[in-house]
Subunit: 407 residues, 2 copies
């Protein structure tokens, strides 16, 4: 079994890197705080005796090349250490640190695996600074040319490529330099399912589709006091209508579709000026590809009608689009068995969040292990998973990886 | 009659001060660009032979102290030169520059008025950087203690007092050092009424009430992918509901009530995070005080129900509240007569915008002169009034002031 104290202490340490004056944790991809987090992860990987490799999109790999297994495809674990704004300490970091812990535990036990075992920290999983999300794993899996990814412009106007250079994590390996035999990602659930059902381990068998758009509405700025309601072309009001449309449609539906507007900006943003422009993001998700397409179509249709009714101009730009993914059934079964053997309850489940596993599933058999999130809260400083659940998840990861690596 | 070329050339010059790299005009109160605009106005006032006085809230006065009328209360003209964000060149500036032009014209004609004539450029009329709007004239009229006004914190976190010191316009005169006999303000209409009716001159007899609030909604940040719609406490969605509520209520009403949400911010503002906080402004106006109160009450009621339904916490902060104002009937009649004698069509009307005249009406007989705004567009770079209308308005101002000053 893994060393729980070591895992907790590293989770806490990494969770301190990137706190601002108010104590809020924000470690956006390829920022100075991300660099500080990466540096800590590299130290811990080296301390576990791993060989470090960094690819051109900045993914960090710690590789245990067992001498008997030099030419075998490795078993890969991993996740990410970038965060959202005002984040919790578990999302992503748990999977990376547990991966390091699994290898360290195996080495300390003196086992000799019949395949290399590696752990990855993928770049820009959150997608908050640069869209799309899961960018590092997407590039690694060959789903996005590395040059295109490096040229992505962030919400702060920066180029990802330049930022990776700046923080010293623009590596030299070509993405895909490592061809994994299988991939397993351990993650907090970030949703309410496991806690509500009182179950310790999720054997994640699929992951819902994700559609991200940026919508811009152009109206006409005018005076808030003198312009009669009927003569307005109010971009802000039109944007609010889209927010309520998406909400009302999703909440009244019997499907698990979710719709979120996380960013919304008005211009010129003055109290007595009717907004001339509103820009906002739309995050639509559904485990069923056809339903996700239907939701996108319904939104497009609504925007067209709204543009005509409000005499505004509406444009939509795609930021990310990933189809639902089905994970490897054998690995999901290994997860269930491992839980069972450790006396832990488990269930097959769907991931509501996007994960690097979703991308790596393109190139090798993949599945995920979930542990409960208290209150189903994530992307929030109150994100929390109990220590016993954290240990349980890491031990299930240890068992599944041992099995896959022929330990 | 006034010198049209001089007036136009100064309007154009002042309209160049505060343009950014994209050519957008923004001269927020007490910024560096406001200082540059003020400096130009002071030069033009001096060039017209006026004595300059600056009071503690930064209002600039150019005073023509006719030797025969030293001890008489002056006739005051004025308006403001601060702008909104991405503004037009006429709003406010027209009234200040036409005032200087009126005095220069009278002096060049060698007339000797039986009262001093003065022109004011009031501080922070727009209220965009510091609320409330019409702050300089409000302080001058004794409606807000100068210390309190100077301690106002702006949208950029600055203190108005410190900013006035910094730009060299923290004057020494106590607000109210000048007690006007009457006040006349010339302004573009900023609305569609005059143009639609084909009328040249508005004799403004009243001004609607203004209610400004800042509303903050606190929800709970959570993951956009994993949080079922029914479990969300989405501050952004709740804010959008308020925007559509205000719009639907105002547009379906038979009264002239207007409601505007000009600013709206989400936090943490990340694409895959349900907003934990939304902050927005509400600008409500109505010429009838009881109706304005009813609108405020309806909003408060809605916010209370919304807070319960969406499980969010809502707080409202008052930023400005001014009752409707009735102007002086005699001065409005002088405006009509002056238009008539110059062969210009005119009509009595209500001001939809707030103006310094609204504050000065507390301390002396006051009215306003409006000229048409093409397309009813203001607080927008496309704000435009034809040269003939600008000249007509300035000549009406000349005639009314001459009459009031006993020329
Ligand atoms: N796990 C996680 O929060 N991923 C970020 C991408 C997303 O699902 O929005
Ligand atoms: N005239 C004018 O635009 N005043 C600004 C105050 C307001 O009415 O919002």
């Amino acid at each position: 079994s893994i060393n729980a104290e070591r895992l907790f202490s590293r989770l806490t340490k990494l969770g301190q890197i990137g706190r601002d004056g108010d104590g809020k944790l924000t470690r956006l991809a390829a920022t100075d705080t991300d660099k500080a987090g990466r540096d800590a992860v590299v130290v811990w990987m080296k301390e576990a005796g791993l060989e470090i490799a960094i690819d051109r999109i900045g993914n960090i790999f710690g590789i245990w090349r067992s001498p008997d297994a030099e030419d075998q495809a490795p078993i890969l674990m991993g996740s990410h250490i970038d965060t959202v704004i005002n984040a919790g300490i578990y999302d992503g970091c748990y999977g990376v640190l547990a991966g390091i812990e699994v290898i360290k535990t195996l080495r300390e036990a003196g086992v000799v695996p019949s395949r290399p075992i590696a752990v990855a920290a993928f770049t820009n999983e959150e997608g908050v600074r640069y869209a799309p999300d899961m960018m590092g794993s997407l590039v690694f899996a060959g789903g996005l040319p590395v040059e295109e990814a490096l040229a992505t412009v962030g919400i702060d106007g920066t180029l990802l490529g330049a930022e990776l250079e700046r923080i010293g994590y623009a590596g030299t390996e070509d993405p895909g330099f490592l061809q994994p035999h299988a991939y397993v990602e351990l993650h907090i659930e970030q949703g309410p399912v496991l806690e509500r059902m009182g179950i310790s381990i999720g054997a994640v068998e699929n992951l819902q589709g994700i559609s991200w758009q940026r919508i811009t509405i152009e109206g006409v700025a005018n005076h808030a006091g003198t312009t009669p309601m009927a003569m307005r072309r109010d971009a802000g009001h039109a944007a609010a209508r889209v927010v309520t449309f998406l909400h009302d449609r999703a909440i009244s539906s019997t499907t698990p579709t979710v719709a979120t507007v996380g960013c919304l900006h008005f211009e010129p943003s003055a109290i007595n000026v009717i907004p001339s422009r509103a820009t906002f993001t739309v995050d639509l998700r559904d485990p069923n590809e056809q339903r996700l397409k239907d939701e996108e179509a319904a939104l497009a249709d609504y925007l067209e009608k709204l543009a005509a009714a409000e005499e505004v101009c509406i444009t939509a730009e795609r930021l990310a689009r990933f189809e639902p993914v089905i994970f490897d059934d054998n690995i999901a079964e290994l997860v269930e068995c491992a839980a069972d053997r450790r006396g832990l309850s488990s269930k097959r489940m769907t991931s509501g969040a996007g994960h690097d596993a979703q991308m790596i599933a393109r190139i090798c058999p993949t599945a995920m292990v979930f542990v409960p999130s208290v209150g189903g809260i994530s992307h929030n400083p109150r994100e929390y998973t109990s220590e016993s659940d954290l240990v349980a998840g890491a031990n299930v990861l240890l068992d599944v990886v041992s099995r896959l690596a022929g330990v």
